[in-house]
């Protein structure tokens, strides 16, 4: 029972990353239909920026996290403008290629600039906590709480602010939004900024727990794709829920069934579910 609780806790913690990364990805893929395969690399870049700010400029942990989000937001806007916008209206595979190009570019640029050895950010909150038979650290609790707060803030932003509602309008009806005078390019930019900032936030929160390496986002982005397709393209609730579910599936499946094959569960589920429902679990029938 203790082990079960421990694995559930691990799963929620893992799921927090997945949810935040998937949420960012669902904004650009579900709403703008950009298959941003480099999303995991933006996540990685976010972690490096945080590392850089803390180790070189002695930023405090939270200051570094927020700065990293801002910087990645700008990077996201640049990516949208120069890598994806020129390809609007071309066959969908072209954006895929562009994304792969960006992925290779980012991963190797980071390796050149910061080297390939794994980096570490010192634990800001290293103390061990005992809770309901679970042993963990403060940092892990902070990650879980911070992720929930950020997800709620994003929801409020989308539902309650003008900027947010324009994004939602574009998501629901791109042409309609254009007709009522919404600047779709601006919305695209902003969506990318939010998406990247979210990736940076996830990466920065995790940074003291995990290792930072140039390849840290490679598998994560694939999992994020799995989550948003299963959760329904463009559905934020789906992405959040899917993220936590995948986290739990992995920690329970990995802990109780097979650690070596734990990723096969997620990817296999995607192939099977799409085979049964080609437009995703919550996809709609089109006329």
């Amino acid at each position: 029972m203790e082990l079960f609780l421990q694995q559930v806790f691990n799963g929620i913690m893992l799921g927090s990353t997945y949810a935040m990364v998937a949420l960012g990805l669902t904004l650009v893929f579900g709403i703008l239909h950009v298959p941003n395969f480099a999303h995991g690399n933006l996540y990685m870049l976010g972690a490096y920026v945080t590392f850089f700010l803390i180790s070189l400029y002695q930023f405090g942990f939270w200051a570094a996290v927020i700065s990293s989000m801002v910087i990645l937001g700008v990077v996201g806007m640049l990516v949208e403008r120069f890598v994806y916008r020129p390809l609007i209206g071309q066959p969908h595979i072209n954006m895929f290629i562009s994304a792969i190009g960006l992925l290779i570019l980012l991963e190797n640029s980071v390796a050149v600039v910061w080297g390939t050895s794994a980096k570490r950010i010192p634990h800001p909150y290293p103390d061990t906590v005992h809770l309901l038979g679970i042993t963990t650290t403060q940092q892990r609790l902070i990650v879980i709480v911070a992720a929930v707060i950020m997800i709620i803030l994003l929801q409020l932003f989308i539902k309650k602010t003008i900027h947010g509602t324009t994004i939602e309008a574009v998501a629901q009806d791109r042409e309609g939004a254009q007709l009522v005078g919404i600047n779709v390019n601006w919305v695209s930019s902003m969506t990318f900024a939010i998406s990247s900032a979210f990736a940076a936030a996830a990466a920065s929160l995790m940074a003291p727990i995990f290792m930072i390496t140039p390849t840290m986002g490679a598998l994560l982005v694939m999992k994020a794709f799995v989550i948003i397709i299963l959760g329904g393209l463009g559905s934020m609730q789906g992405a959040i829920l899917g993220g936590y579910i995948l986290g739990l599936v992995e920690s329970l499946g990995g802990g109780f069934i097979s650690a070596a094959y734990k990723d096969v569960f997620a990817f296999g589920a995607l192939v099977l579910i799409l085979a049964i429902k080609p437009t995703g679990l919550f996809g709609k029938e089109s006329n």
Binding site: L3, N10, S117, T128, T135
Partner: protein, 440 residues
């Protein structure tokens, strides 16, 4: 018109990149064209003091991608060795001085690129020997290193026992087989009275063999493996899942390891989960590197692993450690130590063979260059086995309950002869040496 403009821009960009490439390339020392080399030779004959000839040594391995740091540790070791050889005047054969240069090429551990790189270095730089630190790349290299008139010496850095099953006359295997550590760990653990072991070793060719070998030896002794939760140390970032599962079995000890950085993370996460027992580190992880990442040995009480090189204890080893860290900004790993010593052995073998370009002769001369001991080298090498394995120590070291390093145990593993052991005790600079017999 617009298309022509686009094409122009593209062409310009590509040209620019290529020029940039060429410029970058020229900052390295350009390999000499054969004609020029001959001209140099001709000139050299005229002079009384001959100009030294530069011999290029090849390396191909992962310098980008997940295993990049591992590749770099190897390159650093070879490069550092070459630097020392050259600053001591290189080697001399028949009055002709030779110096060395390392050409290190990246193959991302992709065997296709490994072969391409090897071909290139053989073809354009005429390298007599190629270093490679990845087993899956070494095997295809052994496929092409014996082509007539195109031979090269395979300097294989791999502790995988499987490598000796590949028949090849031109191979030198640098590090000892990891079976030493398997045996030593199992012995020590058994004598401590531990019976239940949990494993959380890296996935991958090396890790898979390690786990299997340890399981075999341990179960043979009568011990139990209560949990086997491998994780990919190159791609995973959180090991809580595997650790929770492994620790739930209440093991007497934990066997973990892969590259040092993630191994440190595993150790930390294990302690975070409340585990206080002993942890054994597989030989790829380096104890003092792990300690440095964790900011000291506080979390490492009761850890057992491969000893830090500094504990060879000689003045040279200390100097080496310091110099290396200054030059490369990272701690020297086992790879660096072995490769440093191996390149010296190679240079000595060339001198012994009287040739810098005949791989067969160099390989035949190899056994004659030993021993290399702690007075001048960070690793000690005593002889060479029949299948090209260099005989050096495999050692084990423990950190006690106060976080202090204990004196390492070193194993003579290639023989069970007490005479050889005594002989080695006579020349070796290290402290405790034990006898152990492992198949070569």
């Amino acid at each position: 018109m617009k298309n022509v403009l686009k094409l122009g821009t593209f062409a310009l960009l590509i040209t620019g990149l290529l020029m940039f490439a060429a410029a970058c390339g020229s900052t390295d020392q350009e390999p000499k064209a054969p004609e020029q080399e001959q001209a140099d030779d001709a000139k050299a004959v005229d002079k009384v003091e001959k100009e030294p000839i530069e011999v290029v040594i090849g390396f191909t391995g992962p310098l980008s991608g997940p295993a990049a740091q591992y590749g770099k540790d190897n390159v650093n070791g070879i490069e550092y060795g070459i630097e020392h050889i050259n600053s001591n005047g290189g080697i001399t054969i028949d009055g002709q001085k030779y110096t060395f240069r390392l050409e290190a090429m990246d193959d991302q551990a992709d065997p296709t690129q490994t072969i391409n790189n090897a071909r290139r270095m053989r073809d354009q730089l005429d390298v007599p020997a190629i270093f490679n630190p990845v087993f899956t790349s070494i095997a295809p290299l052994m496929d092409i290193n014996s082509e007539p008139d195109n031979e090269f010496l395979m300097m294989a850095y791999s502790s995988t026992p499987a490598i000796l099953h590949l028949d090849n006359d031109l191979t030198v295997r640098i590090p000892p087989s990891f079976l030493i550590y398997v045996e030593a760990f199992a012995d020590i653990a058994w004598n401590e009275g531990w019976r239940n072991g949990a494993m959380l070793v890296t996935l991958g060719g090396y890790g898979d063999e390690w786990r299997e070998a340890f399981r075999e030896v341990w179960e043979h002794k009568g011990g139990k493996i209560v949990a086997d939760q491998p994780a990919n140390y190159y791609t995973e970032t959180d090991y809580s899942t595997q650790l929770s599962a492994a620790l739930a079995t209440n093991p007497d000890f934990l066997l973990v390891g892969g590259p040092s950085e993630p191994t440190a993370l595993v150790v930390e996460q294990a302690r975070d989960l409340g585990y206080k027992g002993p942890i054994l580190l597989v030989d790829q992880a380096k104890q003092d590197h792990v300690a440095k990442i964790l900011g000291g040995t506080d979390l490492m009480h009761g850890v057992m692993g491969v000893p830090a090189t500094a504990d060879v204890g000689t003045e040279f080893a200390q100097e080496f450690k310091k110099g290396y860290e200054e030059k490369y900004g990272v701690i020297n790993t086992w790879e660096a130590v072995w490769e440093y010593t191996a390149i010296h052995a190679l240079a000595a073998a060339m001198e012994e063979a009287g040739s810098v370009d005949d791989p067969k002769a160099i390989r035949e001369a190899f056994p004659k260059v030993f021993p290399l001991t702690g007075e001048e080298y960070p690793a000690e090498m005593f002889s060479m086995g029949p299948r090209g394995a260099i005989h050096g120590f495999g050692g084990v070291q423990r950190i006690d309950d106060n976080g202090e390093y204990t004196t390492p145990l070193n194993y003579v593993w290639w023989t069970d002869s007490q005479d050889v052991l005594d002989e080695i005790k006579g020349v070796s600079q290290v402290g405790q040496i034990e006898l152990m017999k492992i198949d070569e």
